[in-house]
């Protein structure tokens, strides 16, 4: 750029053309306002940190599951991202969404229950056709290694799962989940009060019903109040209402719920807790073509499962796998399974088999999170305050810098002002383009970064102008000084900007959360500073050097003998 024959006019035209193209792209994207971060528009952010080092794949899987949960709870525009290799950030703009904390955080509860009634047959504990022909078999046909699939590495994630639940109420610790599920369902259904009291009656009656403690007998003769509640649930639309679970998922009580296909079930109290499941996997058994899902239970689980299989084999009574109160699968028993290794066969594809196996294996989340998540809720008034404070500070900062440069550099000060405006224009275009393409959101620290950058940007010009003045002081004419000063100032600025760019990149990589926004803004503006400096400020000064006002050292040009502190300025011939 520092060729002696540089044509400043042409460079400027190209520069403005590039800027016009940038704004053309912005116009195509169609947004003239940057995406604001939660701290500027209000909302809730929940950051969960995994215990230990979860690995990228598991973290992404957890992110996907949480994403499904949050967006499934009817919240619009929630964004779930991973951060720093061990964190998941849920950002919910708009309203206060603290009620989602538990939804996000909980690890799902897997339980095995028996089916007393389902909508497929319309009767209770009867034996007509099954929806998907799902069966459960002894897994003796499976090669051993398939049975072991996935064992080991995910064990820790299951954490402290509870024991078998046929002894009674141990659902206390996660009661909150159940209630929430119940409420969710109620909101979807009409006649809430009547149905809720029917459920309560069912629970109360089941507590008195001695057979309820023995689910194998209970399903043949379910508590009447529960059958009534089930009938009422069905009558009021049942699963068609989009309810995932009609009642709280308490292992000690019967449960009325649905599966993904909208079939309603009346289920017995839980027989086996998910903790008793040692492993699950998807595989194609030898000499078969279809996928099956394999299960293997631990010692206690195996014993109970053996009882269940003894009771259910040969009948068409179903066994339900319930995750978070929703039926994942309800197979019949095809054989006696005494060793705790079973397989679920049915109409599985590779994807559905894997998905079921994953749900079985992980409870739901493949990783455990630290107890206390980081929760921030920004109310709309704070968000508004912060936005206006950021903009005010930016406006004042920019104005003061411009005023100072104008006072000190006079005529050259106008170049600083023009350069700052141009830099601001490019920055705005880049912020808009990046929020469109790279999901960049403007946060309060981001705005602070932009304001701080005003100083760094203006400094490039100061270095340059001081160089020009120095060159003129040793007797060079302005037109010569502009070029020779440029060569020196350019290198200084490149070195200095490289340092601040380095800082921005390091900050961006190592900092967490909002600090990233600051680092990004700082890095972005450092690059823009160089662009403006090279392709706007320098050609602009070269261009102005042609005018007598500057090269003759007019009193207000900032280059007069008086301001330079020398007796006369070399004019270097006619301009």
């Amino acid at each position: 750029m520092a060729r002696k024959t540089a044509r400043p006019g042409r460079t400027l035209v190209v520069f403005f053309l590039a800027m016009a193209i940038a704004y053309g792209l912005v116009a195509l994207a169609g947004t003239w306002k940057p995406t604001l971060g939660l701290d500027l528009q209000g909302g809730t952010s929940i950051t969960l940190r995994a215990e230990g080092d979860p690995g990228e794949e598991a973290l992404d899987q957890a992110r996907q599951i949480i994403d499904d949960r949050v967006n499934g709870s009817g919240v619009a525009e929630a964004e779930v991202t991973t951060q720093g290799g061990n964190e998941i950030v849920v950002e919910i703009p708009g309203e206060n969404a603290r009620n989602l904390i538990e939804t996000v955080q909980r690890t799902a509860q897997l339980r095995f229950r028996l089916v007393a009634c389902s909508t497929v047959d319309g009767r209770c504990a009867t034996s007509t056709g099954l929806p998907e022909g799902i069966q459960i078999d002894p897994s003796t046909t499976l090669p051993q290694e398939d049975g072991d699939q996935g064992e080991g590495n995910n064990r820790a994630a299951l954490g402290s799962w509870a024991r078998l639940s046929d002894t009674g109420s141990d659902g206390g610790e996660k009661d909150g989940n159940g209630q929430e599920q119940g409420q969710g369902a109620d909101e979807g259904a009409q006649g809430k009060g009547g149905k809720q009291s029917a459920y309560d009656a069912c629970i109360a009656a089941a507590a008195d019903d001695k057979t309820a403690a023995k689910p194998l007998e209970w399903i043949d003769n379910p508590t009447t109040a529960c059958v009534d509640a089930f009938t009422e649930f069905e009558a009021s639309g049942g699963c068609q209402q989009g309810a995932s679970a009609a009642m709280g998922d308490d292992p000690a009580t019967p449960l009325i719920t649905c599966d993904e296909d909208g079939i309603a079930y009346l289920l017995s109290p839980a027989m086996i807790e998910g903790t008793s499941l040692d492993d699950a996997g998807a595989a194609i058994p030898q000499q078969q073509v279809n996928y099956v899902v394999t299960l293997s239970f631990d010692g206690e689980g195996s014993d109970v499962f053996a009882d269940i299989s003894n009771a259910l084999v040969g009948t068409e009574k179903q066994f339900a796998i319930v995750l978070d109160g929703q039926v994942l699968s309800a197979p019949t028993m095809e054989g006696r399974i005494l060793d705790g290794n079973a397989q679920i066969s049915g109409d599985f594809t590779e994807t559905t088999a894997n998905s079921l196996a994953t749900s079985l294996r992980y409870g739901s989340l493949p990783i455990a999170f630290e107890d206390q998540p980081l929760v921030e809720t920004i109310g709309p008034s704070l968000a508004g305050d912060q936005l206006s404070a950021g903009l005010t500070a930016g406006g004042i900062g920019l104005a003061i810098v411009m005023l100072y440069c104008l006072l000190y550099y006079r005529g050259l000060g106008t170049v600083v002002i023009a350069s700052l405006f141009v830099a601001a224009g490019i920055t705005y275009a880049m912020v808009l383009l990046l929020s469109e393409t790279a999901n960049f959101t403007l946060t309060l620290p981001g705005i602070a970064g932009l304001i701080v950058a005003v100083g760094i940007t203006a400094d490039s010009f100061i270095v340059y102008f001081e160089r020009i003045r120095d060159e003129m002081r040793i007797g060079k004419s302005m037109r010569v000084a502009v070029e020779s000063g440029w060569k020196r100032a350019r290198n200084t600025c490149l070195a200095a900007d490289a340092v601040s760019l380095l800082a921005a990149v390091v900050l961006y990589i190592f900092a967490a959360g909002v600090v990233k926004g600051f680092a990004f803004a700082l890095g972005l503006t450092t690059i823009i500073d160089l662009v403006v400096f090279f392709w706007f400020t320098h050609p602009m000064v070269s261009y102005l050097a042609k005018y007598r006002f500057f090269n003759k050292g007019h009193r207000l040009s900032g280059l007069s003998p008086e301001t330079l502190g020398v007796s006369r300025v070399a004019t270097g011939g006619n301009a």
């Binding site: 603290r98 998540p373 100072y404 602070a448 070195a495 340092v499 909002v514 600090v515 301001t563």
Partner: protein, 356 residues
């Protein structure tokens, strides 16, 4: 402004010169005292760590105009909610339209109880309440990451300066200046008791960049001047001191231009928002930038000269310059003064103690 420009010209030509390098022991002493005070403050008072580092729950309640009465009413409401861990809340006004309440980390249910109490007392909708729940371990990770970032940055910058200037002594001097800035900034925090938050940490990390940026600009001029050391018949110290003087006007301008927007953030942040990330960031930047400008002029360059003084050709240049200076100052200095009973010497002028 004219007079300042005149000063700029004088400084540039060397007609007027502030002897930063010559007064280096004085400057070192000033900085040493400042650093000693900072270290004392740090060890004696410690840092006032924000809720992000200690863990806890923080509420920010919007009110029409924040007064002490509002704060007191909210404090009573929070204490009366009867939740464990809120017996001694820290309540303060933040800006002119909010009250900030900090309590210990609360469980979800307890937090909901306290929220209800606050909402009822302030008469606002629950949606307008801002709240932060932070486990104590979060701050540790922020600090850890910041520390890793700091180390990586310092290593990279040392390599960069070394590669750019081909002079490891410049890296060392720049690092000393950097440490000086950071320690003084941290010391200011220790003494004033301002809260240290992640925004403060960000600010301090940014000071690193600014301090070095400034030092790089000064060193660039030092290199330019000392490269021509032999021709300009100056010692390294003189050439470096001239460089500092020549960039002094720029240094002052730069710091002003950098401090002005930061000052505006600080002012607006403090007045409009009260305790906020904006204020924390700006305060750290303001102190650090001021220290950064001072250190690049008064610490980094004298330190560089100090380190260079052990080199042979620098020593040689120094010797020559001193001899020239001596000769220029008083060509007859070698001639001993006349005294009544002076011994007669045939070989004058080799005794350096008679100089100065």
């Amino acid at each position: 402004m004219g007079r300042f420009s005149q000063l700029g010209n004088d400084l540039h030509s060397g007609r007027r010169s502030i002897d930063f390098v010559g007064r280096r022991w004085y400057l070192y002493a000033v900085s040493a005292v400042l650093i000693a005070i900072a270290v004392f403050g740090l060890s004696y008072k410690g840092l006032n760590l924000g809720i992000e580092f200690t863990g806890g729950t923080q509420y920010r309640v919007p009110v029409a105009s924040a007064t002490q009465d509002d704060a007191d009413a909210l404090r009573t409401a929070v204490v009366d909610s009867g939740v464990e861990g809120v017996g001694n809340p820290i309540v303060s006004t933040a800006g002119d339209d909010a009250v900030q309440i900090q309590v210990e980390a609360l469980s979800l249910e307890d937090s909901a109880t306290v929220t209800e109490a606050i909402v009822a007392a302030a008469g606002i909708s629950a949606d307008d309440l801002s709240q932060e729940d932070i486990g104590a371990s979060w701050g540790r990770q922020i600090a850890e990451r910041a520390l890793i970032g700091l180390v990586v940055f310092v290593v990279l910058v040392v390599l960069f300066i070394w590669a750019y200037f081909r002079e490891w002594k410049m890296s060392v001097a720049a690092l000393v200046a950097l440490a000086h800035d950071v320690i003084i900034t941290v010391g200011v925090y220790a003494f004033t008791g301002f809260e240290v938050t992640p925004a403060t940490v960000t600010g301090i990390l940014t000071i690193l960049a600014f301090s070095l940026y400034d030092t790089v600009v000064v060193f660039d001029k030092v290199r330019e001047n000392t490269a021509a050391m032999r021709e300009s018949r100056k010692s390294y110290a003189q050439a470096a001191n001239l460089a500092v003087n020549q960039t002094l006007v720029r240094s002052i301008n730069t710091s002003l231009v950098a401090l002005l927007p930061v000052g505006s953030i600080l002012y607006v942040g403090a007045v409009q928002l009260g305790a906020s990330s904006l204020q924390d960031l700006a305060l750290a930047l303001f102190v650090g930038m001021a220290a950064g400008t001072y250190s690049s002029v008064c610490i980094a360059t004298p330190m560089l000269v100090h380190l260079k003084n052990t080199e042979d050709d620098v020593k040689l240049a120094e010797k020559r310059a001193r001899a020239r200076e001596r000769a220029a100052a008083d060509p007859y200095a070698a001639v001993p003064n006349f005294a009544e009973d002076m011994p007669i010497h045939n070989d004058p002028g080799v005794d350096p103690s008679s100089q100065r």
